[in-house]
Symmetry: C2
Subunit: 253 residues, 2 copies
DNA sequence: GCGGCATGGTGTATTTAGAACACAATAGTA
DNA sequence: TACTATTGTGTTCTAAATACACCATGCCGC
């Protein structure tokens, strides 16, 4: 919660710099220890959780805005970002619109505005991301997908829509480059797919299919040290990966 | 082109009723005589073609806005509408932003604003649509997809993106209910698919696959009158069609 | 140091879906 | 009545997806 003084400053600043009525909210997926993670923020002074979001500068492309916001939240630059839906119900931000209505008249109150939010989902390297809270929040942290807190506004719907889109995307786009470390083993990559899809896949068939895409390079040296048989290490073949991204993998008709 | 007086009236009205910075542009597909058609508008006093579009009322859900705009342009109510992308480059509407800049200072000039546009595509029944021009245009008409005029702003990109999305959608959603008349023959439906995809399909395999979806009902009576063998008439089984829409058709993993 | 066991690599049958293709039925036409 | 264009239906062939089996490796406990 803002004090009145803080609120006035924030609103003045926002009105001057940001596009009215538009916000961006991002579902940031990470992957660690066999768990799909989502980045969430916790508000100051409230038991309220949000997806990371922000506003669009008056002269900024929306992709840039989404990138900038995530850079601030994660420290990461080269992020896989995908716009997936605009949420445009006039009542979707009602709680925010009413929040400060006693404190500041609507004309000056940035939050009293209706906001459409553009949903992006991001796939990021969990190990290199450094979650950083924003101005409104006290905590920015990863949560397991199957242990999410209740989210404010329509953010739970945004998360669900993002996940549905990601699962669909899996069918015709390669995914993993942004979620896996540089080198990884086949079982590790399989675990990522299983986690996103929420179901087990056959080890051998997975391997054949993913290798069939031609987007993986196998290293000479297997990973040593761990117990059991030493698995091969793989990395993505960037050139083929990129062309698979643009051209798609398979497809119906 | 507006006169100054018209412009002032339009801007006053727009500022009062519409959400700033947001517009909606729709790619309306129809199907007739084996041709995929797209609805376009031609401006008054200019050789300039646009996709149908409009603005969002201050308290209106964006889906409603898209529906309202298309109702005005086509007279149709129950339209299949699908949001597919937001176009948010700050320069995308530059020509409009500069158009009236001599006539009215930016603060009062609605067109001087930057606009994000939410892209929708629509599938409509060609025979029942009655194209009607809007306030700015002199003509609203169907054009063959392969005979499109150059479109203003980024509307050609919007059209291309819509078409790509539609083709992708074809793989996991049934399409046709909104584009075909109540009853139709199998070759007619196949022609629709071929036209959207831009390639020939095998008659027999198409039939098997589409019937396999279980979304068609075959009428008792074949179509009479035409030359050659009388084809069966089909109609969509709405119940199954709807569930196929929500649940998807097939899918990879 | 040797067998147990967990893990990872590779191969092979079986089933299913997709592509290619052939033939029969119908209705108008020469 | 033969011919032709069109539609309906079935069959074969091939590729992909699925299911399952076996071998290799490296640590562990004894």
């Amino acid at each position: 919660m803002f004090t009145k003084q803080e609120l006035i400053e924030f609103c003045d600043n926002a009105r001057e710099n940001y596009l009215a009525h538009i916000s961006i909210d991002s579902v940031v997926f990470g992957f660690h220890e066999g768990q799909l993670k989502v980045l969430v923020l916790k508000m100051k002074d409230e038991e309220a959780w949000y997806l990371p979001g922000g506003f669009v500068l008056k002269n900024e492309p929306i992709e840039k805005a989404a990138t900038r916001i995530l850079k601030e939240r994660t420290g990461l630059d080269e992020i896989f970002l995908q716009q997936f839906h605009v949420f445009g119900d006039p009542e979707r931000s009602r709680p925010h619109r009413d929040m400060y209505k006693e404190m500041l008249p609507a004309a000056e109150n940035w939050f009293a505005n209706r906001f459409l939010t553009i949903g992006y989902y991001a796939l990021v390297d969990f190990m290199n991301a450094v979650p950083a809270p924003d101005q409104h929040s006290i905590l920015c942290a990863w949560r397991d997908l199957d242990d999410m807190p209740a989210l404010e506004l329509d953010h739970s719907i945004i998360l669900k829509t993002a996940l549905d889109t990601l699962r669909l995307q899996l069918n015709y786009q390669p995914i993993g480059y942004n979620l896996m470390p540089k080198e990884f083993t086949m079982p590790e990559l399989q675990k990522l797919y299983e986690t996103i899809l929420g179901k087990k896949l056959d080890r051998r068939n997975f391997q054949r299919r993913i290798l069939g895409f031609g987007i993986l390079k196998r290293s000479e040296q297997p990973r040593k040290g761990g117990a059991h048989k030493a698995p091969y290490l793989y990395s993505f073949d960037l050139k083929n990966y990129q062309s698979a991204l643009t051209e798609g993998l398979q497809g119906g008709w």
